[in-house]
C-alpha cells in the first residue's frame, strides 16, 4: 500500500495527489526530441569524441612504436619482400603473407587488419575488424594479395579489396581513395545519414550494403541492399538494390554530372549535398553570443552551422527560426526559416517542434487560414503527438475566429 493512500485529511490528500502527479511528469515528446538532438551532437560522428581522444592517444603511441620497429626491421624485411610492402599492426590477424614495412611510405600508420585476398571474399572468413583512427588524412591501404575490414563507426564497416585505400576527409567521412570497398551500413536512426565519399561524389545512405570502386578515371557504385544517393554539388542520383552507377573521377574534364543508374535510368533529383558537418562548437558559440546580447552574431554563427549536415546543422536550422521569432521579433521571417528547416529535414528530430512553432506563430500573427491549414496538417502528420490536443483546441479557436470574422 502506498503512503497516504488513505488520507486522513485534506493536506494528506493533496500531498498524495501531488506525488501521483509527479510520477507522471516524464516530459513531453518534443522536449525529449530536442534534448536528443543536443545529446546526439555530443556523440555525433563515427565514435563519441570522448572515447575518440583516448583511442587517438593509444593509436598515436602504437604508430610511434611501429615506425620505430619498421626502421629497425626494414633491412631484413626488404630481403623477404619484393614489391609487396605492408605494415602489419597490433590488431593484425592472418598476416602471414603480408610483408614488412616501409617506414617512409607509412601506409598503415596505426596498424591494419589484413588477410590474403581470395576470389570471393566474405565477411565471415576474412581478417579481424580493424578499429582504425578515423581522423582526416589517416589512410588504410591494402596491397596486392591483401584485403582488410575496417570499422567505420556506428556499426558500419568497409571490406577493402586488394590494392585499395580508404581514408577520412576533413569532415571525418570515410573516403574511398583507390580500389574497391564493399560497405555495410546498419540502418541509421531517424535523422541520421551515413556518408562516404569517392572522388568528388558523396554517397549517402540510411542503411544498406553497397560497393564503391575508384578506378583510374571513374567512380562506380553498386548497391546490394537498401537505397543510396550519389551526389555531387547540387545533383544527386538515387540508387536502389541492384542498381549500379558510374561517373567520371574528374568531372570537370568530362563536363559530366552523375549519370542515372544503368538499370534504372530515371534519376531522382534531391536537394544539394551539403559541404560540411556542423559541430556543437558552433551552437555553443551561438549560445554564448546570445547570452552576451549579440543576437546578430548568434544568427551569423547559426546560419553558417545550418549550412552543414548532421544533427548540429539541423538544430542550428531550427534555432535560427526560434531566435528570429523570439529575439528579433520577426515572426514572418521565422515561419519562413522553420519552413526551410522542414524542407531540408523532412524527417528531422525537431520536425514536430518546427510544425508546432509554425502553427503557433501563424496564429499569433493573425494568419487564421494559414494557421488552420498548418494545424490540420500537424494533426494528420503527428496523430500520436502529446501536443495534438493543444493544437486541436487551437484549431477550434481559429475556426471560431474565422467564422466570426466571415459569417457567410
Amino acid at each position: 500500500m502506498k503512503w497516504l493512500e488513505e488520507p486522513q485529511n485534506e493536506a494528506e490528500r493533496l500531498l498524495r495527489e501531488g506525488l501521483d502527479q509527479a510520477a507522471k511528469r516524464t516530459g513531453d515528446e518534443i522536449t525529449h526530441r530536442r534534448v536528443w538532438a543536443k545529446v546526439s551532437e555530443a556523440i555525433e560522428g563515427p565514435q563519441p569524441r570522448f572515447w575518440f581522444s583516448g583511442r587517438l592517444l593509444f593509436a598515436g603511441a602504437a604508430t610511434v612504436l611501429l615506425v620505430a620497429a619498421s626502421v629497425v626491421a626494414y633491412p631484413h624485411v626488404r630481403q623477404l619482400s619484393q614489391g609487396h610492402v605492408s605494415q602489419p599492426g597490433p590488431v593484425a590477424k592472418n598476416t602471414a603473407n603480408s610483408a614488412g614495412a616501409n617506414a617512409a611510405e607509412s601506409m598503415v600508420p596505426a596498424g591494419t587488419a589484413v588477410a590474403p585476398a581470395d576470389d570471393q571474399p566474405s565477411v565471415e572468413t576474412q581478417a579481424a575488424l580493424l578499429e582504425a583512427e578515423r581522423v582526416p588524412g589517416h589512410v588504410v591501404r591494402t596491397r596486392a594479395g591483401e584485403r582488410a575490414r575496417v570499422a567505420l563507426g556506428g556499426g558500419a564497416e568497409a571490406e577493402l579489396a586488394e590494392n585499395s585505400a580508404i581514408t577520412w576527409d576533413n569532415q571525418h567521412r570515410p573516403s574511398v581513395e583507390k580500389g574497391s570497398a564493399r560497405l555495410s551500413v546498419p540502418h541509421q536512426p531517424p535523422g541520421w545519414r551515413f556518408s562516404v565519399t569517392a572522388g568528388p561524389y558523396v554517397v549517402t545512405v540510411v542503411g544498406t550494403k553497397f560497393q564503391v570502386h575508384v578506378a583510374m578515371n571513374t567512380v562506380s557504385v553498386e548497391v546490394t541492399e537498401g537505397v543510396v544517393e550519389v551526389g555531387r554539388g547540387s545533383n544527386s542520383t538515387r540508387l536502389v538494390a541492384g542498381d549500379s552507377w558510374h561517373g567520371p573521377l574528374y568531372p570537370e574534364e568530362a563536363h559530366a554530372v552523375p549519370a542515372a543508374p544503368q538499370e534504372r535510368p530515371q534519376a531522382i533529383p534531391t536537394p544539394a549535398a551539403k559541404p560540411s558537418v556542423a559541430t556543437t562548437r558552433g551552437l555553443q558559440d551561438a549560445q554564448a553570443a546570445l547570452q552576451a546580447g549579440d543576437t546578430n552574431r548568434a544568427v551569423e554563427i547559426l546560419t553558417r552551422a545550418a549550412q552543414g549536415t548532421g544533427p548540429a546543422a539541423e538544430n542550428a536550422a531550427y534555432e535560427l527560426g526560434r531566435i528570429t521569432r523570439y529575439n528579433l521579433n520577426r515572426p514572418r521571417q521565422a515561419v519562413a526559416l522553420w519552413d526551410k528547416y522542414r524542407t531540408r529535414f523532412p524527417a528531422g528530430l525537431l520536425r514536430t517542434e518546427a510544425d508546432l512553432s509554425i502553427v503557433e506563430t501563424l496564429s499569433q500573427m493573425g494568419e487564421v487560414r494559414a494557421a488552420l491549414a498548418e494545424a490540420d496538417a500537424f494533426m494528420s502528420r503527428h496523430p500520436t503527438s502529446e501536443r495534438r490536443q493543444d493544437v486541436q483546441r487551437l484549431a477550434e479557436r481559429l475556426r471560431a475566429a474565422e467564422t466570426a470574422s466571415d459569417p457567410k
Binding site: 502506498k2 503512503w3 485529511n9 485534506e10 493536506a11 494528506e12 493533496l14 500531498l15 495527489e17 501531488g18 506525488l19 501521483d20 502527479q21 509527479a22 510520477a23 507522471k24 511528469r25 516524464t26 516530459g27 513531453d28 518534443i30 522536449t31 525529449h32 530536442r34 534534448v35 536528443w36 543536443k38 545529446v39 546526439s40 555530443a42 556523440i43 563515427p46 565514435q47 563519441p48 570522448f50 572515447w51 570499422a151 563507426g153 556506428g154 556499426g155 546498419p186 540502418h187 541509421q188 536512426p189 541520421w192 553498386e222 548497391v223 546490394t224 541492399e225 536502389v240 538494390a241 541492384g242 549500379s244 544503368q262 538499370e263 502529446e386 501536443r387 493543444d390
Partner: protein, 192 residues
C-alpha cells in the same frame, strides 16, 4: 551488375534489447543503441530531475548534461547495479550540483530582472498539485528530498536507494521517515 536481392530477416531492434545488451551495443559505437538507451531512460531522467527541483527552463540542459555524462561514463559501468540505479546516481549528483549553482544565482537575481517567461511544454507542469508538491519538496534538505523522491515517486526499494545515494539502508529509512513527517507538516500549513 548485381541482381536485386532478397532482404534478410530483420534483426531484433535495439529497443527490445535488455539493458546489458544495450550497454554492450552502445560501447561498440552502435548509434541506434545510444538512441534506444536515451529513449528508454529520458522519461526517468526528466521525472527525477523535475522532482529534485530542476526548474522547467533548466531541465533540458540538465537532461542533456546527464545523458552526456551517462554516455561518457558508460565504459566504466560494471553492471553490478542496475543500469537505472546507475543513471539515478548520475542524475542525483547532477541535480544537486545544479541546485547549488541555482542558489548562488538566486542571490544575483535581484539585480537581473530580465528573465524570460518560462514556457510550459509539459501539461503535467500546469497541475496545481504539482506546483504545491514542488513548493513542499523545495523545503526539504537535498538528502532527505532525494530519498523521498526515489521512494515515493520513482518507486525504488530502500536497498536500491542505498545504492543510489551511497548510504546504509537504515539511513535511507531514517531519512524517509523524517522527510515524510516534514512533508505532512508542510502540507498541513498549506491547507489550513
Amino acid at each position: 551488375m548485381g541482381q536485386k536481392q532478397q532482404t534478410t530477416t530483420p534483426l531484433p531492434t535495439a529497443s527490445a534489447l535488455a539493458d546489458a545488451d544495450l550497454v554492450r551495443s552502445c560501447r561498440a559505437g552502435d548509434v541506434t543503441a545510444w538512441r534506444s538507451l536515451y529513449e528508454r531512460y529520458a522519461p526517468l531522467v526528466h521525472r527525477f530531475a523535475s522532482a529534485l527541483g530542476v526548474p522547467v527552463d533548466e531541465r533540458e540542459d540538465a537532461a542533456q548534461d546527464i545523458f552526456i555524462a551517462v554516455f561518457r561514463s558508460l565504459k566504466h559501468f560494471r553492471g553490478e547495479a542496475q543500469l537505472s540505479t546507475w543513471i539515478y546516481r548520475i542524475a542525483a549528483r547532477h541535480a544537486i550540483r545544479l541546485g547549488r549553482r541555482r542558489r548562488t544565482r538566486e542571490t544575483m537575481r535581484l539585480t537581473m530582472l530580465n528573465e524570460k517567461p518560462t514556457v510550459l511544454n509539459d501539461p503535467a507542469e500546469r497541475s496545481t498539485q504539482i506546483a504545491t508538491l514542488d513548493r513542499m519538496l523545495a523545503k526539504l534538505p537535498p538528502k532527505k528530498r532525494t530519498v523521498l523522491v526515489l521512494f515515493e515517486i520513482e518507486g525504488l526499494s530502500a536497498k536500491e536507494i542505498s545504492d543510489v545515494v551511497g548510504c546504509p539502508e537504515n539511513t535511507v529509512w531514517s531519512r524517509l521517515h523524517h522527510a515524510r513527517s516534514e512533508m505532512v507538516k508542510a502540507a498541513r500549513r498549506m491547507v489550513p
